[in-house]
């Protein structure tokens, strides 16, 4: 019975194997099931296939050796070069591409165009703030030096008032106070006032320019515009002195840096 000539084992095995998987059509299946009742060889064959399948199914999933995430570079920029590189990396087992930025929870993804614009404006803000800060420092130091060399004693009538008028408008002013000697700078205001007025016309546009530059990014706008509005407002009886202008520029510069840093933290995509 076992080696009956009509037992085409190749075909029989296929049927039995398909039966295991419920992949046998109705009539064929019914026929096979009746045959199985009378044929021990086919039952053994079925059982052996079932066991082979069971062993495969019982295999646990192999543990992932690493994460296969793709690096998050914007692919559109250098499509050919960028995609070719990780492929090469993939073949070398030693140089595994590190999953990018696992620490930071994925930030809101920026589209390429937006990221580019942001990147550019952050750069502009930083550049302008640098200019403002350097100019401010320069003015402060310059006036400090000139007061030291002239050694003039000051009549401190209106100087403190103008100083206090300015400083509360900006929180950064207090922090800067420690860096620059405040009593000296207030003294200078009176002595150099006459010379200072014409020179400050020059730097002034720069100050408003920085205010505008950083103004495009929201945060800096209120503080800086307040400051620049201060000048024409008090322009009737009082004009800004050199050290005050220097201080103001420094503040603008610092605010610009802070804004740039905040922007970069919010959208890391704008970083690159």
């Amino acid at each position: 019975m076992l080696s009956e000539p009509e037992h085409n084992w190749e075909q029989r095995r296929e049927q039995l194997s398909a039966l295991l998987d419920n992949e046998l059509a109705g009539a064929e299946r019914a026929e096979l099931e009746t045959h199985l009742q009378s044929c021990a060889a086919c039952r053994a064959e079925l059982e052996s296939l079932r066991r082979a399948r069971a062993l495969l199914r019982a295999l646990p999933q192999p543990a992932l050796p690493r994460s296969f995430l793709l690096p998050l570079e914007p692919a559109a920029q250098h499509a050919s070069g960028e995609l070719a590189e990780p492929l090469r990396v993939g073949r070398r087992p030693s140089a595994t591409p590190a999953p990018t930025r696992p620490a930071r929870p994925a930030p809101v993804p920026l589209s390429d165009a937006r990221a580019n614009r942001l990147r550019r404006s952050v750069k502009v803000v930083r550049w302008l703030s640098t200019v403002a800060a350097v100019l401010g420092l320069f003015l402060l130091l310059g006036s400090a030096l000139s007061t030291l060399s002239s050694g003039g004693k000051a009549t401190t009538a209106n100087a403190p008032s103008s100083y206090s008028q300015n400083s509360p408008t900006d929180a950064g002013g207090t922090a800067l106070g420690s860096a620059t000697p405040p009593p000296e700078s207030t003294q200078k205001t009176t002595t150099t006032q006459d010379h200072a007025t014409p020179t400050e016309v020059g730097p002034n546009p720069a100050a408003t320019a920085t205010a505008k530059g950083s103004g495009t990014n929201g945060n800096a706008t209120p503080g800086t515009t307040l400051q620049s509005r201060n000048e024409p407002g008090s322009g009737g009886g009082f004009s800004l002195s050199t050290p005050e202008l220097g201080l103001l520029l420094l503040v603008v510069g610092v605010v610009g840096f802070v804004v740039a840093a905040v922007l970069r933290r919010l959208w890391p995509g704008a970083n690159r």
């Binding site: 079932r50 192999p62 296969f68």
Partner: protein, 231 residues
């Protein structure tokens, strides 16, 4: 692990048939990946990397090469995402993965099989004695089987002795839980071919396991397993 009831469904182990549920999330992620949104594609990778790696591992039999091929397949999928035309994304990924496996063999000029007899897809002679032994041997009783590391390696070895097309069909069916239809579509073959490859693959694996049982460590030999089965 229940084995005896119903020979239609056969043994139903922990690795049940995978159910395909494309889902809105996956469709959304695919749409975003088409616009070269790498973060979205990475979400898809997280969902499917285990299946991709498992297929590569079972085909190649070695974790390091499997990892390389997995990475390669996922990059290839990312590049070719526009060519995905609906259907099961998982099947599509697994197709790319199996192609990457064959590419790997071609590239490395390594033989995809360890035995010459398996190089062809020729039917093997039916060995009734062997089938009966295997069916009666307590070691292979699914109820007794403990999937120790040695046994896993032994089964993997058995897989490596199959012709690659048989191995692929068997792995897709019994490990990835795909239906014959899915496998036929994925491998661009007929239903009949899938059926025969799976049947031959299983038969071949069974023969290997029975013939080379001396490769198993001693505690897998018949006596002990029998004792444990009786207990």
């Amino acid at each position: 692990m229940n084995s005896s009831e119903g020979n239609q469904t056969g043994w139903s182990g922990s690795a049940g048939r995978h159910q395909e549920q494309p889902g809105d999330l996956e469709a959304l992620l695919i749409a975003r990946s088409r616009r070269k949104d790498t973060a979205a594609f990475n979400q898809l990778i997280i969902m499917h990397q285990q299946a991709v790696y498992t297929l590569a591992y079972r085909m190649l039999g070695d974790p390091e090469n499997a990892a390389d091929v997995t990475q390669e397949a996922l990059f290839a999928a990312y590049r070719a995402i526009e060519s995905f035309r609906g259907g099961s994304f998982r099947s599509w990924l697994l197709r790319i993965t199996s192609n990457a496996c064959f590419d790997y063999w071609r590239r490395s000029r390594r033989r995809p099989v360890e035995s010459l007899e398996a190089l062809t897809e020729q039917p093997t002679d039916h060995d009734e004695g062997l089938a009966q032994q295997f069916a009666a041997d307590e070691r292979w009783n699914p109820e007794n089987v403990l999937m120790r590391v040695e046994l896993q390696a032994y089964i993997q070895n058995g897989l490596m002795h199959l012709a690659p097309e048989q191995r692929l069909a068997v792995v897709l069916s019994d490990i990835q839980g795909m239906s014959y239809d899915e496998i036929a579509a994925m491998t661009s073959t007929s239903l009949g071919t899938v059926k025969s490859r799976i049947a031959r693959g299983r038969a071949q694996l069974r023969s290997y396991l029975q013939r080379h049982a001396e490769l198993l460590p001693r505690h897998y030999r018949l006596r002990e397993e029998k004792d444990r089965g009786i207990e």
